[in-house]
C-alpha cells in the first residue's frame, strides 16, 4: 500500500517539476519583436533564450550598456524586468547611428562567431538559426 502511494507521489512530483521548469524556461525566453521599428518586416521575430545567455559566462554588461565618455557606466540595479530604458530599442532605432537591426546583429553574431572560433559553446551564425519561419 505505502510503496504504491510513494510511487504515485514521486510520479506527480516528477510531472510537476517538468511543467514548472518548462514554464520558467518559457518566461526566460524573450521574444524580440519590434514591429514599430521594422515597418515592413522581412523576417520572423527572434526567440532569445535570455536565461541560457546568463548561465555561467558573460556578465550583464557584456550586452547591456549605457555609454558615458566611451565607458560602459550602466548601473546593473536598473536591469529590472519592465524597465523601458534598458530595452535596446530605447537607444537604437531608425534614427540612431547604429540601427536596431545592426545593434542586434553585431552583438549576437559577433559573440556567436567568436565562440565558434574559440571552439566554445555557441549560438546560431546564419539567418535561419534565429529567424525561424513556422
Amino acid at each position: 500500500m505505502i510503496p504504491k502511494y510513494n510511487l504515485m507521489i514521486l510520479l506527480i512530483a516528477a510531472l510537476l517539476s517538468i511543467t514548472t521548469t518548462d514554464l520558467m524556461a518559457q518566461q526566460d525566453s524573450l521574444l524580440l519583436n519590434h514591429p514599430e521599428i521594422f515597418l515592413n518586416r522581412q523576417r520572423p521575430p527572434v526567440t532569445f533564450p535570455h536565461n541560457r545567455h546568463v548561465e555561467g559566462g558573460p556578465s550583464c554588461k557584456d550586452c547591456h550598456h549605457q555609454y558615458k565618455n566611451g565607458e560602459n557606466s550602466l548601473d546593473e540595479s536598473t536591469l529590472q524586468e519592465g524597465n523601458p530604458e534598458i530595452r535596446c530599442s530605447a537607444c537604437h532605432h531608425s534614427r540612431s547611428g547604429i540601427h536596431l537591426r545592426e545593434a542586434f546583429h553585431y552583438q549576437c553574431l559577433s559573440c556567436h562567431k567568436k565562440n565558434e572560433k574559440e571552439r566554445k559553446k555557441t549560438g546560431p551564425r546564419f539567418c535561419g538559426g534565429c529567424h525561424l519561419w513556422n
Binding site: Q42, H105, Y106, K113, C127
Partner: protein, 223 residues
C-alpha cells in the same frame, strides 16, 4: 573542418577566384600579341573612327540587333540566357543575407534588394537552369555536342541557387542545407577561373580584343 569550411575557406576560395582570373588574364595577354589588321570589321572602319556621341552609337547598336545578331536568329534562347546571366550576378551581390554577413566580416556591404525580390530572381535563375538542362537532354543538335563536363559545369552554377532557396525557405534541415550552400558557393568560386566558366572573363576578351567576325570593337590581337 566544419568550422573551417564555414569560416576561412570562404575567403580562401574568393582569393582563388580573383587570383585565378588575374592569372588567366595575364596568360591571355602573354599568348596573344597585336597584329596588323588583316580584315576590316565593318561597320567600324579603323581609318575613319566614327565621331558620334556614345548614346547615338548605343541606339544604332540596338537598332542593328534587328537584322544581324543572334537576337534575331534565336530570340527565345537569347532572352533566357540574358535573364540567367543577369540574375546570376545581381542576386548574390545584392542579397540581404550575404550583405549582413559581409558587413559582419569585413565591415562593408552592398545595398540589398528586398528578400522577396531576391527570391523571385533565384526562381527565375533556377527555371533558366532547368531549361538549359532539358535542352541538353532533349534537343538532338545540342545533345550530340554535350559531354559530362557540360552537366557538371551547369550543376556547379545552379547548386548555390538551389541550396540558397532551400536555406531561405528553411526546407529540410537548415544547418545541413546552409553548409551545403556555402560549399556550393566555394566550389563555384574555385571552379570559375579553371573551367569554361572562365568565359565570365574571356567573353569580353574575345569580343573586344580578338579580331573576328564576332568582335564588338576593333579586335587587334591574335594568337
Amino acid at each position: 573542418m566544419y568550422e573551417f569550411i564555414r569560416g576561412p575557406m570562404v575567403s580562401i576560395s574568393f582569393m582563388i577566384f580573383i587570383i585565378g582570373l588575374l592569372y588567366q588574364a595575364f596568360k591571355f595577354f602573354a599568348l596573344t600579341r597585336k597584329k596588323e589588321l588583316i580584315f576590316i570589321n565593318l561597320p567600324f572602319n579603323p581609318d575613319k573612327p566614327p565621331r558620334k556621341q556614345w548614346f547615338q552609337r548605343v541606339v544604332e547598336w540596338f537598332l542593328s540587333l534587328r537584322k544581324r545578331t543572334v537576337w534575331r536568329v534565336h530570340p527565345v534562347m537569347t532572352g533566357i540566357t540574358c535573364i540567367f546571366h543577369i540574375s546570376l550576378f545581381i542576386t548574390p551581390l545584392f542579397l540581404l543575407g550575404h550583405n549582413i554577413l559581409l558587413d559582419e566580416a569585413w565591415g562593408m556591404h552592398f545595398w540589398s534588394f528586398p528578400e522577396s525580390f531576391s527570391d523571385g530572381l533565384t526562381w527565375a535563375d533556377l527555371l533558366c537552369g532547368a531549361i538549359f538542362l532539358f535542352r541538353r537532354i532533349f534537343v538532338r543538335r545540342v545533345r550530340v555536342i554535350t559531354t559530362l563536363y557540360d552537366y557538371i559545369v551547369l550543376l556547379i552554377t545552379v547548386a548555390p541557387f538551389l541550396t540558397g532557396t532551400f536555406a531561405y525557405h528553411q526546407w529540410f534541415e537548415y544547418q545541413t542545407v546552409i553548409f551545403l550552400h556555402i560549399v556550393a558557393g566555394e566550389v563555384m568560386f574555385i571552379a570559375t577561373p579553371f573551367t569554361k566558366l572562365g568565359h565570365m572573363l574571356f567573353f569580353f576578351f574575345y569580343r573586344f580584343f580578338i579580331g573576328s567576325e564576332y568582335s564588338f570593337g576593333r579586335g587587334t590581337r591574335m594568337w
